[in-house]
Symmetry: C2
Subunit: 207 residues, 2 copies
DNA sequence: TCGATACTCCTAACTATGTTAGATAAGCCT
DNA sequence: AGGCTTATCTAACATAGTTAGGAGTATCGA
């Protein structure tokens, strides 16, 4: 069996070190808070000095951006793993909300990075951001599949879902005070949208 | 007419300077972002050097804390100005939600300081925090007045309301894409809770 | 195998940050 | 006038992200 060219070897090693740095960054961020990421500390935990990190990432923000990309990828993967969804629209809605809230609650630092734009100068790169947008589009399609086509209802759904996640993380981290409300919230939303759709249907036929 | 004792004069002047510093801090924070508050810049805009600020606030966090206290006070005052509320529970709900969301949307930096705990080491002092808690208790009383007594429904209401505010600020700052949904959201919540209360009532009487 | 090249990591240093220590000058009180 | 308080300053410290430039090591072409 032939060995790979050494160029590739080096490239692989480079990528491996990048991954190691990112793992250490996640650990630090989970322990100390998202904004408390220190390049010197980070470098030390992977056996380097701070300037050496610049061989792998061109700035601290680039590290955040790579973490953002990882986070959205995890989100997309977990989202895909949801399928096939229950046939019953209401059950599918519940599953979707529960997935989102539990994904957020599982890692507060990740939630802050992905969904609260809280790092002073940081904005995700266009490439990273596109993944996130596609993911939201998938949610929209999901709702459309249930006959919920009004874009305002999509906005209301995202508000309700992120609101639950937000309150859960802010006011009961590690607990389930708002997670318990998910089924009820889904029912509330579902009944509302179906009623609303019926009303609009009637309004249209009688006009 | 007698002049005030000079001691008081000095104390007044001290408070006036504190207020001036806080005003400048708000301006800077609104322009550059909450986390971008720089003591040197702040000092310069009030005609001082950075260390002089320490005669007025014992740390940067103390400045944030004073701003937090001001923010919650503004919230409480604005909340009081809502009364008397409409008699119709649904209308009152709408007014309450609209008030909260518009208060948040009016000042993104203030929203971040009060409702998203985003500054690395900052937690509001006990004194400041108590005001905020009392304010939430007032919302709870409001709902109780409408016959919404279930604490879970209060949690659901806060999730829905903060969710709308959060989405509005994150995804359409300066616009009204989620603000437009407030009435609809209030109706959804109101119908849901009243239905739920009826169901529970029935459950109890038939048992 | 040798010299050139590329790569990785280092130390030193720059700028900016929040913060502390200590000095200076102005105003107040006795 | 002399002592006390207050407000403000400069100088300096620790820590942050970042840049410059060098040392050592592996890789590659001849």
């Amino acid at each position: 069996m032939l060995d790979k060219p050494k160029r590739d070897r080096r490239a692989e090693r480079h990528e491996a070190t990048k991954a190691e740095i990112l793992d250490a960054a996640w650990a630090q961020v989970r322990a100390e808070g998202l904004a408390a990421l220190s390049l010197r500390d980070l470098a030390r935990t992977v056996g380097m000095r701070a300037p050496s990190l610049y061989s792998y990432f061109e700035s601290k923000h680039a590290i955040y951006d790579a973490m953002y990309a990882q986070g959205t990828q995890q989100f997309v993967d977990a989202q895909r793993a949801l399928y096939p969804l229950p046939d019953e629209p209401l059950d599918a809605l519940k599953a979707g909300m529960r997935f989102f809230v539990e994904f957020c609650a599982a890692d507060a630092a990740r939630y802050q990075l992905l969904f609260q734009r809280t790092i002073p100068g940081f904005e995700p790169s266009a490439a990273s951001y596109r993944i996130a947008e596609e993911s939201l589009a998938e949610v929209a399609e999901l709702l459309t599949g249930f006959g919920i086509t009004d874009p305002e209802m999509l906005d209301l759904f995202t508000a309700l879902t992120t609101g639950i996640a937000d309150q859960q993380l802010s006011n009961d981290p590690g607990g389930d005070r708002w997670i318990r409300l998910i089924d009820d919230a889904a029912e509330m939303f579902y009944e509302h949208t179906t009623r609303r759709a019926e009303r609009h249907q009637l309004g249209r036929t009688t006009r």
